[in-house]
Point group: C2
Chain length 275, copies 2
Amino acid sequence: MGKSEATTAAMNVVAPAAHPLYVSSLEKGFRVLAAFGDDCAALGVTEIALRTGLDKSAAQRFSNTLHQLGFLEKDTSTRRYRPARKLMELAFTYLRHSSLGAAAMPRLIEAGAVYQTTMNLAEREDTDLIYTVRIPHQKAAYVATVPGRRIPMYCTATGHAILSQMPADEAEDIINRSILTEHLPGTMTDPKEIMKTVRKARRNGFASTFAQLLPREIGIAAPIVDYRGRPVGAVHIPAYTPRWTVANARQKLGTLAIETADAISGALLASGQKF
Amino acid sequence: MGKSEATTAAMNVVAPAAHPLYVSSLEKGFRVLAAFGDDCAALGVTEIALRTGLDKSAAQRFSNTLHQLGFLEKDTSTRRYRPARKLMELAFTYLRHSSLGAAAMPRLIEAGAVYQTTMNLAEREDTDLIYTVRIPHQKAAYVATVPGRRIPMYCTATGHAILSQMPADEAEDIINRSILTEHLPGTMTDPKEIMKTVRKARRNGFASTFAQLLPREIGIAAPIVDYRGRPVGAVHIPAYTPRWTVANARQKLGTLAIETADAISGALLASGQKF
DNA sequence: TACGTTGTATTACATTTTAATACAACATAA
DNA sequence: TTATGTTGTATTAAAATGTAATACAACGTA
C-alpha cells in the first residue's frame, strides 16, 4: 500500500512559463517543499538539489530560508531538513474561510456517527482531488486518514462522483489528461470503462469503487453541487472488507453519502455563497 | 467568539535578520499568504500591499505568482485573491511523516469513542500551540474543529500540560514571552497564577481550564513525552457546559487524556524515533 | 458622463540572486 | 591514525532578477 500511495504523492509545483510578473524565487522555494515525498522523511541539501533540479547553492539558500521562516526543521546532528509543524498553519489559512468546509463539518460529524464510518470531504484540483476535511472513525492506514492528501479522480469513487455531475466532454477531458496508472491489480485504466462507471454514478446519484487505490477498500461517494448544479466536491465514505460487503456498503453508505452531500449542497445554497 | 479567535490567528512570518543565504523574496511570498487573517476571506492587491507592508507592485507580483502556483485562487469578477485548496497539500507534506501523528491517530480515534468527545493533538510552536490532528465528535464552532489553528499556551489546558513537563525556568520564559491577552472575561493573565496552575497540572498529570479562549469550554489536556521525558505535544479534549461539569470532566476526561497521552508516548518510544 | 478607486502593464535601474569556488565537517575504510 | 570521499557551509564577482515609479485601463459610484 505504501507503494500505491507513493505514486499519488508528489505535489505539483512546476514553472508556468515566464511572465513579467512572475517571481521565480517563490516557485523555487515551493519546489523545495515539494521535494519531500513519500519516500523521504528528511533531506540534505545535496538531495534537495537533486530532487528539485536546483543547483547546490540554490538548494542551500532556499532550504536555509525556509528553515529561518519555520517551515523546515533542521536536525542539527544529521544536518538534514524536514517539514515543520508550521506548514499546518497554511492549511488553516485555507480552511478558515472555506464555506464548503464549514457547511460540511457538522454534517460529516453527524453522518459518521450513523455506522461508525470515516467521513471525508474532497475537493477537485485539476485531474486530482484533495481531501480537505477528514473525520476518521475506524482505524486505517495513517496516510489514508490525513487531510491534504491528493488522489487521482479517474479511479476513485470520489472522482467519479464529481465527474458524474459534469458535462460529458469536460469529464472526458479530465480523464484524458490523467495519468492512468494501475496502482493495484484491477485498477481501472481504460477511459471507456471509466466513463461507463461515471455514467452509472450519474444514474445512481453516487459512485462506488472497490480496491482501486487501497486493497480491500470500498469507496462510496456522492457529489456536492453549487447553486448552478456544478460539482464543487464530494462526500467520501471508505469501507473495508470483510466488515463491509460491496452490496451492503452501496445500499447503506450510498444512501448516507447522498443524504449528507445533499444536505451540504443545501447548506451552501442557504449560506448564499458561490463557494 | 469570533473575536476571541481573531487574536490568535495571524501567522508569524517576520524577517529573521538579513543573512547572505537568506532569500527575501521567499519571505515576501509567505507574508502575502499570512495576510489572509480571520477578518478577510478575500483580498485585493491594494489591501494585500497594506497588510504586508509591500508596495503595490510587489504585492501584485507575489499575488500573481502565488496564483500561478495554485496557492491563491482569483475571483475573476472581483479580482480578489483567496487562499486555495492546494495549501492543504503543504499540511500533508508535514503530516505524512509525522511519527507523532501516526502514533496518535489510532489512539485518538479509540479514545474519542469512549465518551463521544472530540480529540485533539497539539504540538508546541514557540509560545503557541498548533493543532495537528483533530478528530471532532460533537459539533462546535467551525474554526475550533479545524487543524492548523494556533492558540497560545499560557491560557490553555493544552499549553499547561506541556509547560508542566518542562523545567520551571523554561516554562516561565515561555510565559514571559507570551502576549497575555484577556480573550474572555476571566482569561488568566497573571504569570504567577499561570505558573500555579501549571504546577497543579504537574501534580495531577493533566491540566484543565474553563472558559479561557472559548465560552463554556472546559479544556482537559495531558502531556505526551519523548524518550527523555521532554514534552513533544499534548492530547486535548474539549468539553462544553452544560453537557459536562468541570468536576465530571476532570474526573472522566482527565483520566482518559492521561491514558491516551501515555499510550502515545509509549508508542513513540516503541517506534524508536526521537520524534 | 465624470470622478475616484483599484487592478494591470511597462520600463530603466539597482538590488538580489546566482553559480563557481574554496573551505570545513563528518563518515568510512584502509 | 591517516587517507579519502562525501556532504554541508561560507564567500565572492557577475548577471539576472526583482524593484518602484509611472502610465494606462477597468470598474463602480454618483
